[in-house]
Amino acid sequence: MNTIFTPPLYIQRYEFVIDFVKKNKPKKVVDLGCNDCTLLRKLKFHKEIELLAGLDIDCAVIRAKMYELAPIPTDYLQPGDHPLTIELYQGSVTERDPRTKGFDLVTSIELIEHLQLEDVDRFTEVVFGYMAPVAAIISTPNADFNPLLPGLTGFRHYDHKFEWTKVEFQTWALKVCREFGYVVAFTGVGQIPAQEESIGFCSQIGVFQIDRSGGDAPRLQNNVLYNVVYPSLCDSNIFQRTLVNEVLYWAETLKREWLEEIRFEVENEEVGGEGRTDMGLYREGQSVCVPLVRLCSCPRVQALSGTVQHLTKFLLENSRVQLTNDGTAVVLVDNDDEDLEWDENCDNTGTGPFLVSSVENEDWETELGQ
């Protein structure tokens, strides 16, 4: 049925939401009637979002694909800069649920037409009165458009309880604005070029924006079907680990380059090989010291730590990195020479009672009777 549009209408609806997210950068987004989480899977790539939630009455459909929302290996290999938590709840859109309060954006894509009309009123009260998000995107079929859909009789889906005309939808939306203090803009997706203007879009969309500022309400955490926190640099453990890894990597790299340079100079009998200071590295006994100032010029270290002062502070708290006494350089052991060929035997093999002495003069052939 939707194939008359390219891209298909459902994709156009998702893209509408994604464009809205890109433009308005909401931090907390909840999708009502999230079904098998298709929209959530698309939204999770948008770094602006810190909390992404889904609500559906049917936990079976949520469960079917919810693990696809989990972080993938590469999310751990290079944690993002921004935090992201994904939560899925089982619940009804017609009931007040404290977990759904305090969102920046509520999306309800092709949902309300599945509710009985009396439930739509409860839905309206719950979403705009109770949840009171900063913005809401509500989409529903436009009954005016139905005659243009070939072969359609009755509603577009067997489970639809109603399909509103443009006027009906707008009446409802304007009432919402009056009652709950929102402003609404009407738009939609799916248009046939030659159609009359007055018919409007195939899917009509109301974008609601709150008319007053709402404070964040505390959220409760119960009956959560799924909760996953993505690794991000906002987690102090992950940050520490990432920073230390970068520092050690660059310190070792600089050390290697520096030692190679010295070796080159010695081999070419240039004078004062060790005296060169332009790389800033120096020796202290058996160790090589890499100044933090030098490390801070590596883009990734710089990006993570900001200033040398910050870097020093972070590294002093960490036991994996050894600093010089004055705290200005990383100390690395110069362990260059290793025996490659013959692995020296460090014996820690056991001794025990299983000393079965060997058997002598056997002949297995005769035992076989041959």
Partner: protein
């Protein structure tokens, strides 16, 4: 299975299937695709109109059920466990018992956990029919979802087959669903099978459930195994990240269904392919970059930033950048725009070249494979190690300090893992709905420690400390079995290494006398520290009568070594010995090093070092291994090494290079004939027994060894004469296995002593197989070697088979101790590796009778 799949490398990630050259995808699909509607599963014996299933029928049906596969999402999976290949049946002498008896019993623990299920546990298999026929599997699943109240929460459905842990009220249940379009669909669910817990389908099923459980423990799947990403180990110097994880398989073992789980570590790189390439460009320079890049990257597995898939890099598209477009639906879109639109990902480097991965998976709805996937280096992360890293001693040392676990640490991790499953409520709920659970402690079993061997060296015999499995001290001052006098030999060195070369020469002289080696002074040749000048020096100085060439290399860079070996193995066949100068620098170690070199030199010229008693006459032992050269057009190299005498101290070696898609055995057939002819020459008769140890068989490749290689070997033997019918045994040797054994000694969990043999409980009922721990390890946990006798007309008792195998582990001349595998396997490995890594051509046949590759 197809040629390439069989010849697949052991070293690469296993999650990847390989496509079959020359086999059209259609044929493959026809054979392996999950059964579709209309064609009821089972193999002929299945009733087409299933009624009430009688209990006898169940047994009969289940027995013929070996090949049915269920996929979690209906996908095709290769059977990595080689299940359903019943080789034991054909060997009468082991049908009753395959256990040995020699040695002393030892109490062991193994990394196995028993599966506990409700008594009378049965899995019910239903066939599901849709009317009208629903093409999309996804839609079929969605329609089934609407009937949770009838079917229950616990169910597995792949589009045609439905599995339930409980029986529905009726044999045939008719349900009605409605599609989103309002189309009414009639679903008929018919009972077709009651599967006992041991049926292959059930086993597959347990594995699927177990993977679900692992996902609930927040573990990440990479390839076939699961890893814990939240507690990584880092080696920042090399940008390596190591994830601890577990390998796990649930199978029917000798007497129980068990979960075998071992600690595994996944090595990942915390840098993208792009940053790796930039580093490489800096190192190698623009000129050599494309070559270096191909060499390093092709064959590696990458993870992407945007989906949870792994790809193998097959090629690099030097003419593609993210600005190139591809067809998406009806319109062209650039890679850059695609990733931005689809995943919100920005490409920062618009000039990077793209990576090519050939997709092996069949396309949607069983169509032909999709075209190659183009990957953006910036969004790809490397996994595993490159060959270069593997060769880097420092990296490997750092890695092993992180990944080597003592038996006690290993036991601790395994217990914690199973403990976590028991404590996780979600996991327990899942297991409970299916009526399954796991034992909470490691399996206890009894093994045997085989008698230790006496080492025979000429007229002298001696014993070694069985715990150390090493006789380098014991053999001091005892003459070798046979020595080749060194009369005409050369030593090459650079000016800088003049001192160490002289020191080596003196020390070699000193150590060779007690070994019984007569040594004339070598001709010393100095060469300039360049590859070409070394080659020129070789060309000018190595003569026909030269017996041995020793080269002191200034560094362990591969190119000089390769050119020495290439010249002296192919163009001018002469045994050679390379030494890196640095090894000779340590004064105190020089005696040890020189002794080892003297021993190697002697072997390479055809000398014999030691032997063990082999109580079988006219026995030829053959070892086979292969190496997969990923760089050189994915050629495979097969090596065959065969014994020439009673003492297993002389060997015939042959190496063959195979092109892509060719069977490794095709070339080795000829090599085996060569070996038999060489035996005839040495013994004036043909062997009456041949025992082949076949190494290098990957997971899931057993069937092809049984069906293809055994007949090929027999055919090859037949060419020696019509009335020649020696007894033949083929043993598949496997080193990469996840079984582990621990011994409790003095209240401490330790490695079992060398010679520990296990042939009960954890072996497979359908095979004639056993494990031997032959080597001693100084750090970490020892890994046992698995031996699977797939063909045996020798009538040899299992006890003798085990003992013989263990004896052969004593015979590797490059190590004065016991090794992991029978010596011929290790020789074959060494030869294939040398050819694959350095020579890339078939060595000269004049060298066949020498261990020149040691």
């Amino acid at each position: 299975m197809t040629g390439r799949a069989r010849a697949r490398s052991r070293g690469r990630a296993r999650g990847q299937e390989t496509a079959a050259p020359g086999v059209t995808p259609f044929q493959e699909t026809a054979r392996e695709a999950p059964p579709s509607e209309g064609e009821l599963v089972g193999r002929g014996r299945q009733r087409t109109a299933p009624g009430a299933v009688s209990s006898e029928a169940v047994i009969q049906i289940s027995a013929g059920f070996q090949q049915v596969k269920i996929g979690e999402r209906g996908g095709r999976r290769r059977d990595f466990h080689d299940a359903g290949i019943n080789t034991r049946q054909a060997m009468e002498h082991v049908r009753e018992s395959k256990s040995g008896f020699s040695g002393s019993p030892i109490e062991l623990k193994a990394n196995f956990f028993k599966i506990l299920s409700r008594p009378q546990w049965v899995l019910y298999q239903y066939h599901v029919d849709f009317k009208p026929v629903m093409e999309s599997r996804r839609l079929r699943s969605a329609l089934m979802y609407q009937h949770e109240e009838t079917l229950g929460k616990a169910r597995t459905f792949d589009g045609a087959l439905l599995f339930l842990p409980h029986k529905l009220h009726n044999t045939e249940t008719v349900l009605y669903s409605e599609t989103r379009m309002g189309e009414k669909v009639q679903i008929t669910v018919t009972l077709t099978n009651e599967l006992p817990p041991t049926s292959p389908v059930c086993l597959q099923f347990y594995n699927i459930i177990f993977r679900r459980v692992l996902r609930m423990l927040n573990m990440q799947q990479i390839g076939r195994h699961y890893y814990n990403p939240t507690d990584p180990l880092n080696i920042p110097q090399h940008r390596l990240t190591i994830w601890p994880g577990f390998t796990s398989t649930i199978l029917q073992y000798e007497s129980n269904i068990m979960l075998c789980t071992d600690v595994s570590h996944k090595v990942l790189r915390s840098e993208t392919v792009l940053s790796f390439m930039m580093g490489l460009r800096q190192q190698s320079g623009d000129q050599r970059f494309p070559e270096a890049c191909t060499k390093e990257l092709v064959g590696l597995i990458v993870l992407t930033k945007y989906n949870n898939k792994t790809y193998r890099i097959d090629d690099i598209a030097w003419d593609h950048t993210p600005n190139n477009t591809f067809k998406r639906g009806d319109s062209e879109i650039s890679f850059k725009d695609y990733y931005k639109a689809q995943y919100g990902l920005d490409i920062t480097d618009g000039n990077q070249v793209l990576l090519i991965s050939h997709m092996k998976k069949i396309g949607p709805s069983g169509g032909p494979p999709q075209g190659p996937a183009m990957l953006v280096p910036e969004f790809c992360y490397l996994t595993g190690l490159t060959d270069k890293m593997r060769a880097d001693f420092n990296i490997m040392k750092d890695l092993s300090t992180h990944t080597r676990l003592t038996p006690e640490q290993r036991e601790g991790r395994l217990n914690r893992f199973v403990g976590n499953i028991h404590q996780n409520t979600e996991a327990q709920t899942e297991l409970n709905t299916w009526g399954l659970n796991f034992d909470n402690k490691l399996l206890s079993l009894t093994g045997r420690v085989l008698p230790s061997e006496r080492i025979v060296q000429g007229s002298r015999t001696y014993e070694y400390n069985p715990w150390q499995a090493d006789w380098s001290k014991e053999m001091r001052g005892i003459p070798l079995i046979s020595c080749r006098p060194l009369e005409n030999w050369l030593m090459f060195f650079t000016r800088r290494n003049n001192d160490v070369a002289q020191a080596l020469l003196q020390t070699l002289n000193k150590v060779s006398t007690p070994l019984g080696i007569r040594m004339q002074r070598a001709i010393m040749v100095e060469y300039e520290d360049r590859q070409e000048s070394l080659l020129r020096a070789l060309q000018q100085n190595v003569k026909k009568e030269t017996q041995m060439v020793v080269v002191v290399l200034p560094s362990n860079r591969k190119d000089k070594y390769d050119s020495v070996k290439k010249y002296l193995c192919v163009d001018c066949p002469t045994p050679s010995q390379c030494v890196v100068a640095r090894t000779l620098c340590k004064q105190q170690a020089l005696m040890t090093v020189a002794t080892k070199i003297a021993l190697q030199i002697n072997c390479k010229m055809g000398g014999e070092l030691w032997s063990v008693e082999i109580p079988l006459k006219q026995l030829m032992i053959v070892g086979i291994d292969c190496y997969h050269d990923t760089a050189a057009g994915k050629r495979s190299i097969g090596a065959l090494v065969a014994s020439l005498n009673q003492g297993m101290s002389r060997w015939f070696s042959k190496c063959v290079l195979q092109n892509r898609g060719q069977e490794i055995m095709d070339g080795l057939k000829v090599a085996l004939q060569g070996a038999l002819k060489a035996w005839l020459k040495h013994n004036n008769c043909l062997p009456s027994r041949i025992i082949v140890y076949r190494d290098g068989v990957g997971d899931g490749m057993l069937q092809s060894v049984v069906n293809y290689e055994v007949p090929q070997i027999m055919e090859s033997i037949k060419t020696m004469g019509h009335d020649y019918a020696p007894k033949l045994t083929l043993v598949v040797v496997k080193k990469r296995i996840s079984s582990r054994f621990f011994a409790r000694i003095d209240g401490k969990l330790t490695n079992p002593p060398p010679g520990t043999c296990i042939d009960t409980e954890v072996t497979r009922p359908e095979w004639y197989d056993f494990f031997i721990v032959s080597q001693a390890v100084r750090m970490g946990s020892v890994s046992p070697t698995h031996y699977n006798v797939v063909y045996d007309s020798s009538g040899l008792k299992p006890d003798h088979m085990q003992r013989l195998t263990y004896k052969l582990c004593h015979m590797y001349y490059n190590w004065q101790g016991i090794i992991r595998v029978p010596a011929p396997c290790q020789y074959a490995h060494k030869l294939a590796f040398l050819v694959g890594q350095s020579i890339h051509r078939e060595p000269n046949m004049n060298l066949d009778d020498f261990l020149y590759y040691l």
